[in-house]
């Protein structure tokens, strides 16, 4: 039995510490990601079928009212897009004045969420787009209202994305109102982010919006991330702690967007 244990543990440690990021093993890693995604999609199939059936039997009036609501929403959004075009053009002119070469493209690719992975202490999504659809490592994942996370594993047909609330995740942010910078860390709870080490005298208050600052080079600047819920400053402490709530609904919805605009350092390891 001794040699078996040594063999098993030895192989695992070798894989863990030496072969984990080895470029020669790109293909098996992709296969693993895809195999896991396949199992998750099969496991999710009955639930999806039931909700599909429920969708099929929804009443005419519900659909009509929803349609009316969506049309209205679409109109509002179209109006806002027009304003956005004007703002973008203006911004482009300012950037030209500042001799900044940065172009602004906000194209996205829509992906469907297959599942949340099984490990209870981790917040990782499986989505149905992979290397075949040009998904790249580190690509930002967006929800309707804000940043959701980033792609951490890419298979051929699927990929995994770490949510911003995962305990291992941190995103450089700044307060939209005052420009104060910080680092929003995941807490392991789906509705909480925390910004630590904010000087106690900093201008940040409840209700402020945090957007990506673009520092670190992984996320492009300007995506909304979270809303400040609470600023905890202890008496005598030089720093306060900011509790924030992610703007994107991380536990609801079926679709996410992958930003095609990458930060300058996004091809590095996340």
């Amino acid at each position: 039995m001794g040699w078996r244990v040594t063999l098993a543990v030895g192989c695992c440690l070798l894989i863990l510490f030496y072969l984990r990021d080895h470029p020669a093993l790109e293909r098996p890693r992709q296969l693993g990601t895809d195999a896991a995604a396949l199992i998750y999609s099969v496991a999710a199939a009955p639930g999806a079928a039931i909700s599909g059936l429920a969708e099929f039997f929804r009443s005419h009036s519900t659909l009509r009212s929803e349609n009316a609501r969506l049309q209205q929403e679409n109109l509002v959004l179209k109006g806002q897009t027009q304003k956005l075009a004007a703002v973008l053009a203006e911004n482009g002119r300012y950037r030209a004045l500042l001799n900044s070469a940065e172009t602004i493209e906000r194209e996205v690719m829509v992906a469907e969420i297959i599942a949340l992975t099984a490990a209870p202490s981790r917040h990782e999504l499986v989505i149905d787009k992979g290397a075949r659809d040009n998904v790249m490592l580190g690509q930002p994942l967006l929800g309707a209202d804000g940043l959701m996370g980033q792609v951490t594993k890419v298979g051929q047909y699927s990929s995994n994305a770490l949510l911003i609330t995962d305990a291992t995740h941190a995103v450089p942010v700044q307060v939209l109102r005052s420009g104060v910078r910080g680092l929003a860390e995941g807490t392991g709870e789906l509705d909480r982010l925390v910004v630590r080490h904010i000087a106690a005298t900093t201008d940040i208050r409840e209700g402020d919006t945090l957007v990506t600052s673009g520092l670190g080079g992984l996320f492009p600047a300007g995506y909304p991330v979270a809303r400040v819920l609470e600023v905890i400053s202890e008496r005598g402490s030089a720093f306060s702690q900011v509790i924030a709530e992610p703007l994107a609904p991380l536990d609801r919805g079926r679709h996410v967007m992958l930003a095609l605009e990458l930060g300058p350092g996004a091809s590095d390891k996340p």
Binding site: L16, N160, D251
Partner: protein, 160 residues
């Protein structure tokens, strides 16, 4: 030595356990669900220690890692070590009543996740709090039904 048969039952039960853990559940339930794969693995180790041993444990662990998205090998090392302990003490654990057994199984599930957490931390994956130990208690509770259904399966298909 009796000729081994019914390998497919072992294989299918482990695959089914992996499948069960991939089922979509509400986020708030996730801390209250057992580690199905490890329960099934531990049952087969206790029932057929000559057939299901550390190498099987390692393979099952790797499958779990791939499914979970953990770094491949972390759970596998944990499972290998936990199964090693079970293999050294299976004769005693078999004599235990179900309550004592479930404590042993819970402890082994905890060992798997502690080793996994330690290795992941070495690789820079931070864990906050003790959320990674959450499946331990649920695994203790679910040991009895899992054991009984697998035993029925084993007797029906005469796996040996």
């Amino acid at each position: 030595m009796i000729a081994s048969r019914g390998s497919w039952v072992i294989f299918v039960s482990v695959a089914f356990a992996l499948f069960i853990s991939a089922l979509p559940v509400p986020v708030s339930w996730r801390g209250y669900l057992p580690d199905w794969t490890m329960l099934v693995l531990f049952y087969w180790v206790l029932a057929l220690p000559a057939r299901v041993g550390v190498l099987s444990a390692c393979l099952v662990g790797i499958a779990t890692d791939i499914l979970d998205g953990s770094p491949v090998g972390a759970t596998a090392v944990g499972a290998t070590l936990a199964v090693l302990v079970l293999l050294l003490s299976y004769q005693r654990v078999r004599q235990f009543d179900v309550l004592q057994q479930s404590f042993v199984v819970g402890l082994m599930v905890a060992v798997v996740h502690l080793v996994e957490q330690r290795l992941e931390t070495l690789l820079g994956w931070q864990h906050l709090g003790t959320a990674f130990l959450a499946p331990t208690v649920a695994s203790m509770v679910f040991w009895l039904p899992v054991r009984n259904s697998l035993r029925a399966l084993r007797r029906y298909y005469e796996v040996q």
